[in-house]
Amino acid sequence: MTDTRTLRQGTPRAFTARKIRRGRKALAGYMFVAPFMIVFLAMFALPLLYAAYFSLFREQLVGGNVFVGLENYTRAFGDEQLWTGIARVCLFFLIQVPIMLVAALAFALALDTGLTRLKRTTRLGIFVPYAVPGVIATLMWGFLYGPDFGPFAQLAEAVGLSAPDFLSKHLMLGSLANIVFWEFTGYNMVILYAALRSVSTDIYEAAAVDGAGQWRIAWSIKIPALKGALAVCMIFSIIGSLQLFNEPQLMQSLAPTVIDEAYTPNLYAYNLAFVGQEYNYAAAVSFVLGLVILAGSYAFMFATDRRSRR
């Protein structure tokens, strides 16, 4: 260890000077991370701690505030509404994410081959929906889905068909998945595309010399090279799916009997807190959801990690 050696060899004066210098260096380091750490502590760590503390109480409209220990958590683990919601967003994840990531991958590969002529415009075109705020996107799709006067319904009527009711119980999850697909395919494509650009072109040249075509290059070089980026997209998608909130919350005004108060876990927590004033239980529900997300993300990382080691 350098430190102990200098301590033995150096004179006392040199030692203190070094120590001061080291202290200054450390101070500079702290200064650099301070802006992040302050915001992180104040806006993330502290509210989280407070919510955890808060979830151990039960405040009633009549009767005040009492410490209840883990009672809110026991209730959450047995709460059918919460678990129906979690099952629903898991189903959403299983349907929506594979389609979205395959599409994003296909777009990224197509752009990277340089086959597409209007590369920039295409790239931008695919990415633009992500730049549209989710709220606007949902309102727009809500209009498009309209069962009486929406463009799809009108179009179907014009050709003598009846359009499916996109806002009905059976199709709602698919309609929401479509909105999220529209919003986030471009975003995932950009991540994948950026990762592809970092692959050295030497490898492609070598492959071409060996007689590999574009399909072979894509399959044997590019997709393996994208493993890390795909994992990142996957983690984002797990979190995003389980935390689904904006889209169902806005669609609620169009289909209030389909999207109930507990349609997704986040919507449930929101309604518990702001409609039912069950703030403490809402905090516990949020922590349970957080746990599920953590478990899901960890299980995914564990699975991919083991496979890559094999």
Partner: protein, 449 residues
């Protein structure tokens, strides 16, 4: 223990401590028995800033009148959203112990839910106990507490009537229904005559409309509740009659069951999908902009009745101005809440420029208001008709101290049953049970009469 760890957690505790304290111990006003005119004069002569949360567009005009009357008191108007988002923010600020306004707009049905959490200042000692006779009775009874408290000052109301498309009625030779039986018959006749048109729409998430229907039928589900003692009676014969009526109409596909106040619904109004809108006194103005393309085609009639020859109405919507118990300037805030809702110029501006339907008798008796002929309604004196309807609103109807939750449960039970054409009366029982369960969880003693 590792020294670094203890230092870190010590810091967190030090930071979290005051946060937890701030949430519990907040400043609230202890209302005095009486506030003298001298005290009021003194307070109004002191430079003061008040914060007022409201979603009424253009209310700055009334605030300006207040500024002219009390130049030293400055009122900041904040629009924190309409309805639920407004209440969510208000509750958050009140719980946090800071950031709450001095005065906030509250709809009538929300007053009790802020009373139960001790968030409202009783305005009676601040002169409000003497102004009750300036307002229509049903409005004043909704802002009054059981022991003479005045929790808010009425701003506007919504006595229920029926807006209808005269052209559609005439085209199919349908008479304007005077009773609910007539209404059902007209629904069937219209459906047979034109499959594209429904007589009306029942919005499955509009608990406020259903509450108005219960009110008219004589059901008072939470009547007689006081503080922690809560009566819940959503399955009374009167209440079940209402549920059965709308459930039957929907089961026979005689009414539409679309969600309201969204783009789809606005288009439906414009394109004549619904021949009536059973709606309150604020609806005529609202419709003028929401369905502008149908100008001149609409008329207004009284609410259909359960018994022929009767004249009973109810109320949907309308707001009040309430003073938060956390205010640092109770006198100025109380004076402001009363001023904008009682000053003749201010109430006239509200009625004629913001088109808020007035609870103030002086305006309702004023021919300049009641005699206005609205072009959108073929020159009908709509305000005058609603002024008459207002007199037939029964003053006894009580709200739950968690009415927003009651509405949410309505959507999940009765609203869904009507929309999906399942048993609406059975859904009333489900609504009752959800409400009871929730009330018990919140610590109320529940009684089912």
């Amino acid at each position: 223990m590792h020294p670094r760890f203890s230092r870190r957690s010590g810091l967190a505790a030090a930071l979290a401590g005051p946060l937890a304290l701030a949430a519990c111990g907040r400043h609230t006003v202890d209302p005095p028995a009486n506030v003298t005119q001298a005290q009021i004069d003194e307070a109004m002569d002191k430079p003061t800033e008040l914060n007022f949360w409201t979603w009424v567009p253009g209310i700055e005009k009334e605030v300006e009148l207040f500024h002219q009357a009390y130049p030293k008191v400055k009122v900041d108007v904040v629009n924190a959203g309409q309805g639920n988002p407004h209440y969510a923010k208000l509750r958050t600020a009140l719980r946090a112990g800071n950031g709450a306004p001095d005065i906030a707009q509250l709809e009538y049905q929300m007053i009790q839910s802020f009373v139960i959490t001790d968030d409202l200042l009783d305005l009676a000692p601040y002169g409000a106990k003497d102004i009750g006779d300036q307002f229509v009775e049903f409005a004043w009874s909704q802002v009054s507490g059981a022991n003479g408290e005045v929790w808010a000052i009425p701003q506007d109301t919504g006595p229920m009537g029926m807006l209808y498309r005269e052209d559609i009625f005439q085209a199919h030779g349908i008479d304007v229904p005077a009773t609910w039986d007539d209404f059902a018959a007209a629904a069937a006749a219209l459906r047979a005559a034109d499959p594209e048109v429904y007589l009306t729409n029942f919005a499955p998430s509009q608990g406020a409309f259903f509450a108005a229907m219960l009110w008219q039928a004589g059901a008072d589900p939470f009547g007689g509740s006081e503080g922690p003692d809560l009566n819940v009676d959503l399955t009374s014969p009167e209440a079940e009659k209402v549920a059965r009526y709308w459930g039957d109409l929907s089961e026979q596909d005689l009414i539409a069951v679309d969600a309201d106040f969204n783009d789809q619904w606005y288009q439906a109004l414009n394109k004549g999908k619904y021949a009536t809108w059973v709606a309150p006194a604020w609806a005529p103005t609202f419709l003028q902009s929401a369905a502008a393309s149908t100008s001149g085609l609409w008329r207004v009639a009284p609410l259909p009745q359960w018994e022929a020859g009767q004249q009973v109405s109810s109320n949907w919507g309308g707001s009040t101005s309430a003073v938060m118990a956390t205010t640092r300037n109770p006198i100025a805030a109380a004076v402001f809440a009363q001023f904008i809702n009682t000053d003749p110029k201010s109430t006239a501006t509200m009625a004629n420029e913001q088109f808020l339907y007035p609870p103030a008798k002086a305006i309702l008796d004023d021919p300049a208001f009641t005699g206005q002929q609205l072009e959108f309604y073929g020159g009908q004196e709509v305000n005058g008709l609603f002024a008459q309807i207002g007199e037939s609103v029964h003053p006894d109807f009580q709200w739950a101290p968690f009415q927003d939750k009651v509405y949410a449960d309505f959507t999940a039970t009765v609203g869904t049953a009507v929309a999906e054409k399942t048993d609406a009366v059975a859904a009333m029982e489900a609504w009752q049970q959800r409400t009871e369960e929730y009330a018990k969880y919140q610590g109320f003693t529940v009684r089912r009469p």
